[in-house]
Symmetry: C2
Subunit: 339 residues, 2 copies
Amino acid sequence: MAQRLSDTRRPTINDVADLAGVSRQTVSRVLSNHPRVAPTTRARVEKVIEDLDYRPNQMARALVTKTSLTFGVASVDMRNLHFAETCSGLQVAAREGGYHLVVTELDPDDQRGVGTLETLLAIGVDGIVLFPSMVSSADLESFTRRSGCPVVMIGRASRIPGVVSIALDERGAATVILEHLIEREKSRVGLLMNEMFPRFIHTRYEALHSTIERTTGHSKVPVEAARPTIEQGREAARRLLEANGDINAIIAFNDTMAMGAMRGCLDLGLRIPEDIAVVGYDGIPYGEVTIPPLTTMVQDSFGMAGAAFRVMLTGIKEGSPVDGEVQLWPPQLLIRGTT
Amino acid sequence: MAQRLSDTRRPTINDVADLAGVSRQTVSRVLSNHPRVAPTTRARVEKVIEDLDYRPNQMARALVTKTSLTFGVASVDMRNLHFAETCSGLQVAAREGGYHLVVTELDPDDQRGVGTLETLLAIGVDGIVLFPSMVSSADLESFTRRSGCPVVMIGRASRIPGVVSIALDERGAATVILEHLIEREKSRVGLLMNEMFPRFIHTRYEALHSTIERTTGHSKVPVEAARPTIEQGREAARRLLEANGDINAIIAFNDTMAMGAMRGCLDLGLRIPEDIAVVGYDGIPYGEVTIPPLTTMVQDSFGMAGAAFRVMLTGIKEGSPVDGEVQLWPPQLLIRGTT
DNA sequence: CTGTTAGCGCCTTCAC
DNA sequence: GTGAAGGCGCTAACAG
């Protein structure tokens, strides 16, 4: 038993120091590339490190440096391509800096959501990338104020002190979509929104709603809310169409719902795009193989992820997040077959 | 500045102890629900914990307990629905045990892949869930032997000492698919495989290849390898069809490639399923909205994730992984419109 | 250039 | 029931 333990025990900085005949401090200096180490000493220590396949224990290191080289990524549901792509982008950006991602879904039982953030903090993350969620602006502000933890929010633009937002320019996006639909003479628009997000964080809904009112003159905009799945999108689209026979365009919260909506339209015998146009958001790859291919408001998940990581890193290094900054990303409408 | 630091400093066990007028030890006992604490003391301490919103620093705790309550999840590419769903399942299972996921992509520069595993270990994970990758069986075996870290591999069945495999029963799955295709009189099968996975870990390829030979009598099975994307699947399918005019069925490595293959077939003017049948693997939601809907070998990502977490937890608790166990999951063919 | 001392925040072991 | 030492593996600050 003791045998086994000694077998599996990872070498520590002490082991390296002993074998190299130096103090732990010298090893530590070699590790951190401190200049004032004699070349011969350095070589000797590095040799031992190599031989032992030693790697410093990051948790011990974090305990003293207050920097764990990990950051949290939180969303309500990770089974989402936009999220997956963003995570991939975060991971790529993070790797260079030696950072790791702790990915978590916000606890559905924790209504306010802050609990999940506190938990991330307790395990030692240096920063948090947060996807749109139930966490209210007030809670978020108090969280960052209390903790000093840099928080970057992707996908929802709000000027929360202590939080940097990176999001699609929703108003610009809505305008581009509406211009396009109007050009296609599809100005009677219905909305398919995500019921997971309460009104107060629903910038996309508000942007679309006000833009539709402004550009089409229709004051009552038909809308249905559902979970962001194909099946729910399909059913919601049917409800939307049955209750509003005059609709000739559907804008969906994301591509997944839009793909469901396409089926809902077919269910009712409507032709796309002749009878009804469909527009999604995100630009997921699967949208290009629907028949017809889906017109969509592309989000540069990868680019936004990179930006998010850099902003977070700045927040970490400066010890505090930039104040309420909002980075808006330009809309980019990918016009394909559904409009 | 000192002001700011003191503002944002998280309370420690000492703060709680001081305020409650007890020693740190007593606080620690309250935290771990130790029975021998006077009810009044406990109440007092809990009150302070509540007031301070104190949460124990997991890294400090991990340093002494050797248990971080985190585990690593590694794959070659996280932009993959099967992976995303599995992560979601892992996260749900993990939450109950208070565990967190550190998700990482295997470093493409690290050809052998073990480096990524070592890095995970250095940041303190208690176990690792590994997706099929370039990591060879030999490297994996030596890694688990040296580190004693429980590793569960999802998606590739191999009897590696120290590693538990959880995977689809590939031979069973291949048999089910072939029986179905033969019944549909589509026995001239071409294969679209994933070039990311080298031969030696390609159980899916081997199962399909040998099953096709056995059941159809065709000894030379046409195959194309490509990256697992829609576009690459499409091109590979065209190559496959152009080189093998007699093919009347394509089995793709996963649904994404299968969806690309469907486009490739259309490109060449083939009707699905009349002229050619298409089968995918995974059962991702988007497969249900292709036209026609995609026949697919479903993988219970969520269930496999739960099983993987439980196995890993057992490994962690017992201090060593179960030995070379392989859990095979039964095939489940979802027959839709492409066959 | 290198070593010593003193913790980081927590738990384990042993006293009382 | 509670407290006092001691140390997990590492680095910061000071010696020399």
